[in-house]
């Protein structure tokens, strides 16, 4: 008997399944007196959506879920993404009906529990970062960056310096969101080179620092997994030149509980709670990217912030917490108050760990990264030979040179060994970069299995390069044709009879 061909799951969308007349949920029609609908010109005459029974719909999405890999499936050492284990308890806590059912415009009296929690989270983030002015409003890291850069813009405007200070300095190792956020805030971007030791090139910084500089954006620790050498001197130089220092806190996991950004001379920073504070990443969100600042910048924070009424009295005691708009706020960045469900999980994480737990997190995150560095340093090139913090960056340049096997191939081959690949080709300044962030939640044995896999792949690259170049072999799908996907975009379902190209309506 020949093996049956497994279904090509991707070939049939929900739209291509089911049959007219089926439905996955019973909806009752209105049975009271019917009022007339608006005129037909305001109504739609057709709607094309799938018609599936409930079992069909469930099996389809379960089949899709089985073609996905999450942290619960195995190691996910995606550099710069801090893919640590997400505690199950915190999902349940965020789903408590009191939190989940709260309407965003509910009277403050009805949401004191949520407001208290958010206020306490603001306080905790202020303590952890040393930047006590906190707004939880930004929806994700990039929106936190934009908020922070708008605050800097507004502060410069208040000083009467915005017209001349239009340049933002960004290291060439930075996340792409940094220059993109600076540009969205209306600044031009000057890229700073990285020194041979993996920090900002000091001479280049000093050359660029003048009266046209609005800010330096700096990631701490940086995306090379390295501590930014003499950062307190760097921030002092920027301040002397009249600029602000923006801190990208994406990598806080390395130093949480050990150093405060505020002490280092950072003026404004954002922190990705979905990374350091372990909220599930959902296949690309939701996240939360609070912005934290020096106390004197508090009036500029994005709205709203949660405030506590200190005065006594029966009534004020009852409504101790309320939402407020800072006096010179850059405005709202979301319609409502932030990613509350994510913030609840992050607060649960902080409460479950406390200060000793947070210090254990950063200790073990750094320990795990350095352990991998020691296990792999003979088999892969290290572009910067310094002890690392939360992540280690290797280069696959040796494998490329000796066997014409690319980092891309090594990543795909790791899938066959059961691991999610690391981040590849980032930071942009490292040739054939393999950016590995194990996080503290990987057990030692898993790190060793992961290192063994990478060592085996290095050997395969020498002995059977075709095997590596054609990987993955054990994934739900082989390599996909990304070039055709970009050249001939096929971006949505269309009915079988439809013309493949959409018909453009004349305005």
């Amino acid at each position: 008997m020949s093996a049956p061909q497994p279904e090509d799951v991707g070939a049939r969308l929900a739209f291509d399944r089911g049959a007219p007349g089926r439905s996955a949920v019973a909806v009752s029609a209105w049975e009271g007196e019917r009022r007339p609908l608006p005129p037909a010109s305001l109504l739609r005459d057709s709607l094309r959506l799938p018609e599936l029974s409930q079992p069909e719909l469930v099996r389809y999405y379960i089949a899709l879920s089985r073609r996905n890999y999450g942290v619960d499936s195995g190691s996910y050492p995606l550099g710069s993404c801090t893919m640590k284990y997400n505690p199950k308890l915190h999902d349940a806590l965020a789903g408590l009906p009191g939190f989940a059912d709260a309407h965003p415009l509910a009277p403050p009296h009805d949401v004191q529990g949520t407001l208290r929690l958010l206020w306490e989270l603001q306080q905790a983030l202020g303590l952890i970062t040393g930047l006590p002015a906190v707004s939880l409003a930004p929806a994700a890291g990039a929106q936190g960056e934009l908020s922070g850069m708008l605050m800097i813009k507004s502060a410069l405007q208040d000083r009467g310096e915005l017209a001349q200070r239009r340049r933002v300095l960004v290291p060439d190792s930075a996340h792409g969101t940094n220059p993109a956020s600076a540009a969205m805030a209306g600044f031009t971007v000057t890229q700073l080179p990285t020194s041979a030791t993996g920090s900002i090139d000091r001479a280049a910084l000093q050359r660029e620092l003048d009266g046209s500089v609005a800010a330096l954006m700096v990631t701490l620790p940086n995306t090379l997994g390295l501590w930014e050498e003499s950062i307190e001197e760097v921030t002092a130089l920027v301040h002397q030149a009249g600029g602000f220092v923006y801190g990208d806190g994406a990598n806080l996991n390395a130093v949480a509980g050990r150093i405060r950004y505020g002490d280092l001379g950072v003026d404004v920073a954002h922190f990705n709670l979905h990374k350091t504070f372990s909220t599930p990443h959902g296949g690309g969100g939701p996240g939360a990217g609070p912005v934290c600042a020096r106390p004197d910048l508090a009036p500029l924070l994005p709205a709203p912030v949660v405030q506590r009424t200190e005065a006594g009295g029966e009534r004020t005691q009852e409504d101790a917490f309320s939402l407020a708009r800072p006096a010179h706020s850059i405005g709202r960045v979301q319609q409502f108050h932030g990613s509350i469900g994510v913030l609840i999980r992050a607060y649960a994480y902080i409460r479950s760990l406390g200060a000793p737990g947070l210090r254990a997190v950063s200790a073990n995150a750094v320990l795990n990264a350095n352990y991998l560095r020691s296990l792999l340093r003979d088999d892969y090139d290290l572009p910067f030979d310094r002890p690392v913090l939360h992540e280690v960056i290797f280069s696959g340049s040796r494998q490329r040179r000796e066997s014409d096997v690319r980092t891309y191939d090594i990543a795909k081959r790791l899938i066959d060994y059961g691991f999610h690949p690391p981040t590849v080709y980032f930071p942009l300044i490292v040739e054939e970069a393999l950016m590995i962030e194990p996080t503290e939640t990987e057990p030692r044995e898993e790190l060793e299995r992961f290192a063994d896999a990478l060592i085996a792949i290095a050997r395969e690259a020498r002995e059977q390069p075709d095997l590596v170049r054609s990987a993955p072999h054990a994934a739900p799908l082989g390599r996909l044709d990304e070039v055709t996907a970009a050249r001939r975009p096929d971006l949505r379902w269309r009915p079988p009879s439809a013309h493949p190209e959409p018909v453009e309506r004349s305005p």
């Binding site: 991707g10 305001l42 009805d110 993109a180 649960a348 503290e440």
Partner: protein, 470 residues
């Protein structure tokens, strides 16, 4: 094997003291703290006066207490809408969107092991295009407000490209959600765009990049989109429609009426309101604007090579999905990207898709119709009460302006005394119809006894105010 004591520092960290010692020996470092030697000594290990750690059961109790400080909404009738609407969600939505393979995955950078996220994102794009009548959709942005702000930035880029003079203004047609307008202003501050809140499309000028409208508008009324599109296009501007996707189960798709970009809020069809977040911004556009879109986009493609069959022959390449058109994005284009967008709202997009697909075309339409009928029935009953009026602003969907015998703040306070959240005070809005009014929302999932309680409370308020009148 039982050890003397728990040695791992938290339940989420495996390394024990023995593990750490062995690892440090391999690394060649004596003490764990030595790994942090590069951090400036004078700032290292500051005091961190956080509350002490709570074990699982204690944390659970603490959070239950906090949640209980919020009002019990099952007992409190609420007629708040204004951007967040209680929807009856099918049980399959939470069941499928809580699968841990979806929940604990990152952005799908490795398509071979991320087809679940990618294919469901393609379903999402398809659903959004069908609902809005647009050609292309991204995988979602943060929320309706930031999506609308991004739409104005797109409009500024697009109109700048085609014309000699830069269009540096955006016209927003009132009544428009004030919070969304606030976010549009925040982004406009960054982009050096000016915002004009206008009462009519007649106010469009040659320096407007787009006209931004809300459907239904902030006070509940359904626009006829087509003449607004014509007015925008006649002025050389784009039309951006902020549409409620649930209402689109009933209403004409904005794309069919000439919209160039459609945004919307998907949270209510994805999960609970959760005090307004996390949310889900919908963003769809005409094909012409595809390469100016913000956010992630998923495309359908094939394997480069078909799989090998058991007999050694090669089968046809299978279908798969990938992130595509990434040359627009920040991690490639950096400061020249169309947006700084990175982490978004994928899990909510999945939940939104499951809800809409579970309802299907008939279920969604029936649910939207039920919402319309429930709201209109309640409004008719209230309008029949002496002393109350429902303001006629033309066809509306689920929200209406209500005037009573008391000024709006007092009316809301008296209802609050009766344990009812009667709506939102909009009496200070610029529109004359809103004078003295509250914005009241009734949907298909408003319990009938809550409507009865509202009507009884309004009725007794009227009696009381009559008795007080000398």
């Amino acid at each position: 094997m039982e050890s003397a004591s728990t040695d791992a520092p938290t339940p989420y960290i495996a390394n024990t003291a023995a593990d750490r010692a062995a690892m440090l020996a391999r690394i060649g470092v004596r003490d764990l703290e030595d790994l942090f030697a590069e951090l400036p000594a004078r700032f290292r290990d500051p005091p961190l006066p956080l509350d002490p750690p709570l074990a699982e059961a204690d944390l659970q109790q603490h959070f239950r207490r906090l949640a209980a400080e919020n009002a019990d909404l099952a007992q409190r009738p609420s007629f708040l809408g204004a951007g967040a609407y209680r929807r009856a969600l099918p049980a399959v939505t939470a069941a499928l969107a809580s699968r841990s393979e979806f929940v604990t995955a990152y952005t799908p950078y490795q398509p071979e092991i991320s087809q679940g996220t990618l294919q469901s994102a393609f379903e999402f794009q398809s659903v959004v295009c069908e609902l809005t009548g647009m050609d292309v959709s991204n995988t979602g942005l943060y929320d309706v407000a930031s999506a609308s702000a991004e739409a104005t930035l797109l409009a500024a880029r697009v109109t700048e490209r085609h014309r000699v003079t830069k269009r540096h203004r955006v016209a927003v047609l009132e009544p428009f959600h004030p919070h969304t307008l606030d976010v549009v202003r925040s982004y406009a501050y960054g982009a050096d765009l000016a915002i004009d809140a206008v009462p009519s499309a007649d106010d469009l000028g040659t320096d407007h990049a787009c006209l931004l409208i809300q459907q239904p508008d902030f006070l509940g009324t359904i626009h006829d989109v087509e003449p607004l599109a014509a007015a925008a296009h006649a002025a050389g501007a784009l039309l951006v429609v902020v549409a409620d996707p649930f209402a689109l189960g009933l209403l004409r798709a904005p794309g069919d009426a000439g919209a160039d970009v459609v945004t919307g809020e998907g949270r209510d069809l994805a999960g609970p309101p959760s005090f307004g977040g996390p949310s889900l911004g919908l963003f769809a556009a005409k094909e012409a604007h595809l390469r100016q879109m913000p956010g992630r986009i998923v495309g359908r493609t094939k394997e480069l090579h078909g799989p090998t069959r058991t007999d050694g022959s090669t089968a046809d390449p299978r279908t798969g999905y990938v992130l595509t058109l990434q040359a627009r994005e920040q991690f490639i284009r950096r400061e020249r990207a169309t947006s700084n967008f990175s982490t978004g709202q994928s899990l909510l997009a999945l939940a939104f898709t499951v809800t809409v697909q579970a309802l299907g075309p008939h279920g969604l339409r029936r649910q939207a119709d039920r919402c319309y009928q429930t709201a209109h029935d309640a409004a008719a009953r209230i309008a029949a009460l002496p002393g109350y009026a429902v303001v006629d602003r033309g066809p509306w969907f689920q929200e209406f302006l209500l005037r009573g015998p008391l000024p709006a703040p007092q009316l809301l306070q008296r209802l609050a005394d009766a344990g009812i959240v009667g709506g939102l005070d909009v009496s200070d809005r610029p529109e004359p119809e809103a004078a003295g009014a509250i914005l009241t929302c009734v949907t298909e999932s408003t319990p009938p006894d809550h409507v009865d309680r509202l009507i009884a409370a309004l009725s007794s308020l009227e009696q009381a105010s009559l008795e007080k009148t000398p």
